[in-house]
Amino acid sequence: MDLLGMRESYLRQRIMLCFNGPISRSLIEEIGNALRNYLHSQDAAPSAAMDVFAAYIEMTQNIRHYALRQGYDEEGASATVAVARNERGHYVVSAGNLVEREDGERVIATIETLRGLDKQALKQAYKQQLRQPRDAASRTGAGLGLLDIARKSSEPMEASLEPLPDGRGFLSLTAII
């Protein structure tokens, strides 16, 4: 196994913490805990640390909810998560997972819509989504979480969808806090 290659890749991308594999409820908590401790040890401002943690939680819980709803097996229910720092010192939270192509395209379209909204408009959209009835909200899924991440981001979120040979896609989301 090319651990040195992995290490160099992590260093190059300034990755502080990453995970790849099946993600359970308790793993989300444990990795979240490690993330918090790490941010604390780095003397991150409490508000920034909370924003990073929030982006991580919303992304990973979205992935879990989606995989459960789709009835994916362990491999399908896995996530690739990385938290890094960019060259300007901003925290970067990324998460990727397998999705049905059309679901991925819907998320890409949502992220594209959010790109055009300023902080005030994002707040309004968030409050509106919060008022959706419980059932309707759970059908539309990721809406509230994505709005929350967008509100905590210092620039528009980025999303990409890589088509896979089996017809599905790999959806990646990146938020810069």
Binding site: R25, I28, E29, G32, N33, P46, S47, M50, D51, F53, A54, I57, E58, Q61, R64, H65, K123, K127, L130, R131, R134, A137, L144, G145, D148
Partner: protein, 129 residues
């Protein structure tokens, strides 16, 4: 018959205490369970029963820290019940204490307060942590 609520906290769920006799509901800690309604349905039920069966004031004493979006949604349901009761003449009061080093908590509390007309205090208080 006692109808107190006593839910111990965990890493991802707040400590919740509902004291029926004194009409006080206290919640403190982080809240980011995967399915927040598994937790909050009991709390919402307790608030509904209290408002339904009693005519005494209800006070919420909050020291919540981080809430994921599904916990925010559940909390909004609780505040909606309080607002409705308040508009019907019930005495309601909320105090939300937060660590002044983290302004995000005050901002979160403030967004809830925007939709409420009952007394809602957002108070800086250093925690011992």
């Amino acid at each position: 018959m006692t109808t107190d609520l006593n839910i111990p906290g965990s890493q991802s769920t707040p400590t919740i205490l509902g004291d029926w006799q004194s009409g006080r509901l206290a919640m403190q800690g982080d809240s980011y369970p995967e399915n927040s309604y598994e937790l909050f349905d009991q709390v919402i039920g307790w608030v509904e029963r209290f408002l339904d069966r009693e005519s005494r004031p209800l006070r919420l004493d909050l020291a919540l820290v981080y809430l994921n979006t599904s916990s925010v949604k559940a909390m909004m349901d609780i505040f909606d019940h309080l607002e409705e009761a308040h508009l019907a003449g019930r005495e309601i009061g909320v105090t939300w204490r937060y660590d002044p080093r983290n302004e995000r908590i005050a901002e979160l509390a403030e967004e809830f307060r925007e939709d409420c007309t009952f007394p809602f205090a957002i108070t800086p208080a250093r925690s011992e942590a």
